[in-house]
Amino acid sequence: MELFNNLIFGFSVAFSLQNLLYCFIGVLVGTLIGVLPGIGPMATIAMLLPITYNIPPVAALIMLAGIYYGAQYGGSTTSILVNLPGETASVITCIDGYQMARQGRAGPALAIAAIGSFFAGTVCTMIIAMFGPPLAEMALKFGSPEYFSLMVMALVTAAVLAHGDMLKSLAMVVLGLLLGIVGSDVDSGIKRFCFNFFELTDGIGFVIIAIGVFAVGEIISNLSDPEERQVFTSKVGSLYPTLQDMKQSIAPIIRGTAIGAFFGTLPGTGPAISSFSSYMVEKKAARDPSRFGRGAIEGVAGPESANNAAAQCAFIPTLTLGIPGSGTMALMLGALMIHGITPGPMVMVQQPDLFWGLIASMWIGNLMLVVLNLPMVGVWVSVLKLPYRMLFPAIMVFSAIGIYSTNNVSFDVYLAAIFGVLGIAWRVLGCSPIPMLLGFVLGPIMEENLRRALQVSEGDPSVFLTRPISLAFIIATVLILVVMVMPAVRKRRDDIVG
């Protein structure tokens, strides 16, 4: 009953004309920067933060939050249409989304991404309202050993990402792990593989690699093969998903939402890991995994729901404990502090209008986004009809601006160009960059937490087995390994018997 009253109070705050307007501005800007490759929510929020000095704090936070989750909606658009991730969390959507577009099914892919995101957004708004504080307390139970075991599980599961040559995929994962090492070692401060470039001391940005490999690499290799391009632009089929599509997507959307909510609540993980995990789960759960990578709608529905769920649930530790789970969330806290509101457990009590107003606005914002995005599907699909001599330079310019705006450093743009060349090399060699990106994302988290856990336990590795949550992840990892290895073993035995 109290929850009901709180929500009504929240909606009364969010439904003021001013807050509705800022919510709309937020989701609109979010969608736009989501669509533009390279320009992410973090850079945008950083740029807009000074403006919020002159806006009331509730409105400011509603707008900034709108940008953040709005970007998760827009991020899938370019992934699906032109195989360029608009947002880091949409990298995985490229795999099946782009294949769907090539088969003339860009419309259904875009629509299902929006529908999945809306479902995830709605569910997660409810989760924050109902279970926010207890969930945040649970997230605090995760120490270094738990994070390490969780990441091991994620990396082992990643083996299903491999299609084609297993050895090449493994090599790419290792390459990703190595790239993740670049930068200052957090424990000793020693600079690893920085070659005296201070620009590398914070490590290589995910955006730089993703844009380099996908945007630059994709464009160059497409230019070298113009015929292939024309084939699929001519056949843009139905704009909306069929009943069959919807049926296939229901389970992935629900699973994706659950996965995203889990990772979103944990500080330090975020939307990218959620969408990766969701894709791996969907591929494992599918009756015919070979459809993945060839335009399976589940490979769009799951991850796109997962990244929006994660974006939404990232507000749980931020709002209830005042702990930023990511750089973007740190900026949100900064926005509060600009107004002299100290983020922390007291915000819910002292500033109920802010807490409940924001939660209510999230649902309204998600509704706006789905209304905004579904009719836009037709417009986006028509982008495919643009001549490439216009489309490609535009993508390159926006990518460069996006990369530059993250740190205002031109070094990053050159670095992206280098990754563009590497991207082409990998394409020629038949190596998928996805396992590399996964290694790159998970590697540093694993390394840091492994070293911290061992430092605390004085080098005793049993710490991973004596802590219950960590043990549960280790057992799950072993089970996953067994399940993955079993079919191969059984097949061999069948071969012998047969």
């Binding site: 139970k141 001391t201 502090m337």
Partner: protein
């Protein structure tokens, strides 16, 4: 000899300018700086937006715009612990149109790094220190210590067992922690995280026991009882935590750990411009607005003029060089 006279001269100019400022305030006119500024001024904040450097720098930039009659544009250039933005500031023209915000990390650059792209003691002309804010020593409430003395006793009883979190090797908070270890003559583990957020999360979860961190980051958790404050790092008690003793009075004589913020200009910036800027900044810092605004973040106005600020930087750099050597911290191989 030459530097002595130039310093005297500078002090003289400062004094003259001060008198002038007092006489004709708020329109302070100083002959040679007459036409400065005639275009927007850029203030580089070498950290990402939303942090303490922003909370100090942006209000100052806004007020400075009003005073100077030209826009002071904030340019956040984060990366490499402030080195990238500071480098851009060092290499800008010394004409007063590019200023750089700086803080406690600045006096650690020289002791910790071998190939800095600038010389912290030579590449800049200090303009003014703006304010300072103490750090605070907090512990998880599950640790049965109520004071700094009890914490030290606990650490002596079980050497190397207590776990302090920190925000990355070589950061100013980490060096403050190392200094505490040396001055309290105890041994404990320091576990590093990438930034204050993750370190605070680990401490709040009870996976570690203590943290020397910025007051503003710990304040909400101290107030809600999720963390216990044992001591603040300033020379005097903090106005926002008047009941908490300083670490110095609680049992570690001479210990101090705090952050400070200041503004630099590239070396060679004309003295009249430096003086003019310092005068304007001093006047801004004296307003109640700014004082109250800073205090919300646990920061107190703490102005130093160009000469004193320069001496402060030299003294701090020398201090940290000793600590870095003693703690045996090396970021380069």
């Amino acid at each position: 000899m030459k530097s002595m006279t130039s310093r005297k001269l500078r002090t003289l100019i400062t004094l003259t300018a001060l008198l002038a400022a007092l006489a004709v305030f708020p329109v302070s006119i100083f002959a040679a700086a007459d036409d400065y500024p005639n275009k927007p001024v850029r203030l580089i904040i070498p950290w990402p937006p939303g942090g303490s450097n922003d909370f100090v720098g942006r209000p100052i930039a806004a007020k400075l715009s009003e005073q100077l009659g030209k826009q002071v544009v904030v340019d956040n250039r984060g990366g490499a612990g402030g080195i990238i933005g500071t480098e851009a500031g060092a290499k800008a023209d010394p004409d007063g149109y590019t200023l750089t915000m700086t803080g406690a990390a600045y006096t650690l650059y020289a002791p910790l790094h071998d190939n800095l792209p600038f010389d912290p003691l030579k590449s800049f002309t200090p303009i003014a220190r703006l304010g300072s804010g103490p750090n605070v020593l907090v512990v998880h409430p599950s640790l049965p210590v109520k004071s700094v003395k009890e914490l030290i006793a606990q650490a002596k009883q079980k050497p190397g067992q207590l776990i302090f979190v920190s925000v990355g090797a070589g950061a100013s908070l980490h060096m403050g922690t190392e200094l505490f270890k040396i001055m309290a003559d105890i041994d404990f583990k320091i576990v590093q995280f990438k930034g204050g957020g993750p370190a605070m999360t680990d401490l709040l979860g009870g996976h570690s026991q203590a943290f020397i961190c910025s007051l503003i980051a710990a304040l909400p958790h101290i107030k809600s009882g999720k963390l216990r404050a044992l001591g603040t790092g300033g020379k005097m008690r903090s106005a926002v935590l008047p009941d908490v003793p300083t670490i110095e009075e609680a049992g570690v004589p001479g210990y101090e750990t705090s952050n400070w913020w200041g503004i630099l200009a590239p070396a060679g910036t004309p003295a009249p411009i430096v003086t003019k800027l310092n005068n304007e900044i001093k006047a801004i810092l004296a307003t109640d607005d700014v004082k109250k605004g800073f205090l919300k973040y646990g920061i107190e106005v703490d102005h130093l003029g160009p000469a004193e600020f320069g001496e402060f930087i030299e003294k701090e750099t020398a201090n940290w060089t000793r600590v870095v050597k003693k703690a045996n911290i090396r970021l380069e191989k």
